[in-house]
Symmetry: C2
Subunit: 240 residues, 2 copies
């Protein structure tokens, strides 16, 4: 398994610049062999502005960036990519557009069979997993299915948020929402990545990077907290 | 148009009992001709417990409550209902189950053609509108479509939440999420019902009840705030 993934909870930490908090991880991940990154901006409406922001950041890290929305043939762009980065925004819009352009199976093939490094942030992290069932986003459009690229066999909840004990708001807490997911039969584990967390997957090894703890929900068990450096490789082989 | 709807943002206000904050509206709405309410508990996993909670509350208001999950034939139960109440929980689970049991068109017919009074709370309010595209819930299951019962031609966002200026969390605010919806073409207006708000629809007249202001999003226009007593009848005829 050649799989290499860098799955980021959030593109921007409060008070910092775009992708600033994880820039050293990005450099380490794409390394020096990759010179150009294929960017997929479908999660946001203004793709030009989004590509500009991403291009500036990646150029500052030493990488050229091609945005797929400027490519004459998106499938072809994925076939030729040295590295892929899918940015955040609305997860439903992102997944629908990936299906509209027949990119889901192509990206999966490139990453799992050819070892093309894949970086995702927020919605781009959601779509890399088994399904988008644990996105925080509004269903503003309807993708053909919630099944996603499936680069890992579990779910991630990005921007994971602890329950605020002082809140008077009565909507479900994040934990309650994930618990509701696990009331459904045969639902996989959910890794809650707080802002500042990054999951690095290399082959069959998964490691928590970043500055915040992650919260793991396994169906039928109490949630557990894990510090940066934690080994999550068991999530890659678990079928549940 | 015989339509009569009582659309509640949230079933429980902080520090109060189940449906306590809107109990006088419920009495006024179902009145004295209705003696039995058909309850639809599909949004929560534990239907027995949910029906028990709802039954206690409605009995205290003078109504018997039949839960549809105890009926031998759900479609038949809707056909015979004097009044309908759909409770909150997970909106995706609720809508999927309504479709699984062929209830969407049956409820629509009963409410719009026969004038059966319909009360919804939270997810039960979402499914009464044109679609569930503005739910806050996680897509824990996949309904066949996001199109909902369509008792009104616009969207509601229940539990509407103002942006917290002190938050360091970088996930989208509620306003940003609704704005993303309106980036999509031909999307209808969204009425943000804060906790404590209730929308009463009688024929072609819609009135804001309750104790909190509502926030209205019309595509391409700035959001506007509206106090209890506001007339929202124009939302019933607007096609957009
Ligand atoms: Ca998002
Ligand atoms: Ca809910």
């Amino acid at each position: 398994m050649k799989r290499r993934l860098l799955l980021v909870s959030n593109s921007t930490l409060h008070g910092e610049g775009y992708l600033q908090h994880c820039q050293q991880h990005i450099r380490d991940f794409f390394g020096e062999k990759v010179t150009r990154i294929l960017f997929i901006p479908y999660a946001l409406h203004d793709r030009d502005a989004y590509a500009k922001t991403a291009r500036q950041k990646f150029q500052s890290l030493g990488y050229e960036l091609d945005s797929i929305h400027e490519a004459p043939n998106p499938v072809d762009a994925v076939r030729k990519a040295q590295g892929i980065f899918i940015g955040g925004g609305n997860t439903f819009r992102l997944l629908k557009t990936l299906y509209d352009h027949n990119l889901v199976s192509e990206i999966k093939k490139r990453v799992l069979e050819d070892g093309v490094p894949y970086m995702g942030s927020s919605a781009g992290t959601n779509v890399s997993t088994v399904s988008i069932c644990t996105t925080n986003d509004m269903p503003i459009v309807c993708p053909p299915t919630l099944t996603a690229i499936g680069l890992v066999p579990f779910n991630i909840n990005p921007h994971y948020l602890d329950t605020d004990p002082n809140s008077r708001h009565m909507g479900e807490t994040r934990e309650q929402r994930i618990m509701q997911y696990h009331e459904e039969p045969d639902t996989p584990s959910v890794l809650g990545l707080r802002e500042g967390s990054v999951l690095l997957v290399e082959g069959n090894k998964a490691t928590l990077l970043g500055t915040t703890n992650a919260c793991l929900f396994i169906r039928g068990k109490p949630a557990t907290q894990h510090e940066p450096g934690a080994d999550f490789s068991f999530l890659l082989t678990d079928t549940n």
